[in-house]
Amino acid sequence: MPAIRHHIPDDLLMGYAAGVLPQAFDLVVATHVSLSDDARARLASYEALGGAVLSDLDQAQIDEDSLDRTLAKIKGMAPEPRPEPSRGVFPSPLRKVVGGDADAVRWKGVGLGAKQSVLCSDGEATARLLYIPAGQAMPKHSHRGMEMTLVLQGAFRDEDGVFARGDIEVADQQVDHTPIAEPGEDCICLVATDGRLKFQGLLPRIAQPFLGI
């Protein structure tokens, strides 16, 4: 089994379609799909499977006044506005969580110009934004669970190649890598990690690999 996958794997898209991913992974998948037509089409195929499951269900008994009460609900609601084309760095699902575009992030320095901002963490999984100055290395690390890294600005390079805006890397326990931000533009990534792991132990060590580069 390959430990690093550059396309978003099918099991994650199917998990997103079924609605069983932790919130942090939902956020990365929704943001990635916003940037990739291929992922959007693959996701839509898994949603089609969900639609087929729904179609095949036997009908449940609904309340007698069900339709009337629904019509009453409709009266109080405004129609959904058509979505606006997005122009910033962050696609809309990420913008909703941050409360704005890249300039609205509340960063915390983690040393040598690198910054992070934790967006959600529920014990199951954590989503954070990472900001790595152009040309600088991220700390070398292994993974105790699954890690999804989505590039939003700039690019990074590691043992597997170059990742630019919209590219996603999924890494698991077998992976040990040192991503380095490409020269030019500072790199902003959205990263989701499985539960318990990793950054607690990583934070104190973070300056060392930075200095080593």
């Binding site: 079924a18 499977l49 499951v53 609900k73």
Partner: protein
Amino acid sequence: MEKTEAHWVATIAAIAQNQDQKAFAEVFRHFAPKVKAFLIKSGADVSLAEECMQDVMATLWHKAHLYDPSRASVATWIFTIARNRKIDLLRRYARPEPEDLPWGPEDAPDQADVIALQQESTKLAEAIRKLPAKQRELIERAYFGDLTHSEIAAETGLPLGTIKSRIRLALERLRHAMN
């Protein structure tokens, strides 16, 4: 009698264009009991499922003008609304959704794409019905939320590749129309 996919697409269009309450009542009679069954199988108790189903059907009314039949069947579209509402209610967070592709009312979806997607959706439904009971049950359980992410594996033997290519083509046409 089983209605065709083309019929349901026209019904949603009638809701979107004319706020047609008769059309809505027809969609409701067919889909609301299925949505409620889906929510019950996903772990909601009967009264929560009823309430949630009404929200889903009300959302359908208000989103009808955003429905794109070149990218999803009506059942698929309703499934996504129900799934999102289920996560809002049962897991208590607003589910992050991909940014939708903005397209104006003048860019009506390509009829060839719509028909092709309807054919692929029908094929997929038939393929599921032909699966061995055990495999079919596994797929259903995945969508009711009975399987964790790591237990979910991509199913083989389903014509998912062809439906994916259809959707991909529709997306490309849509992008061209926008530029």
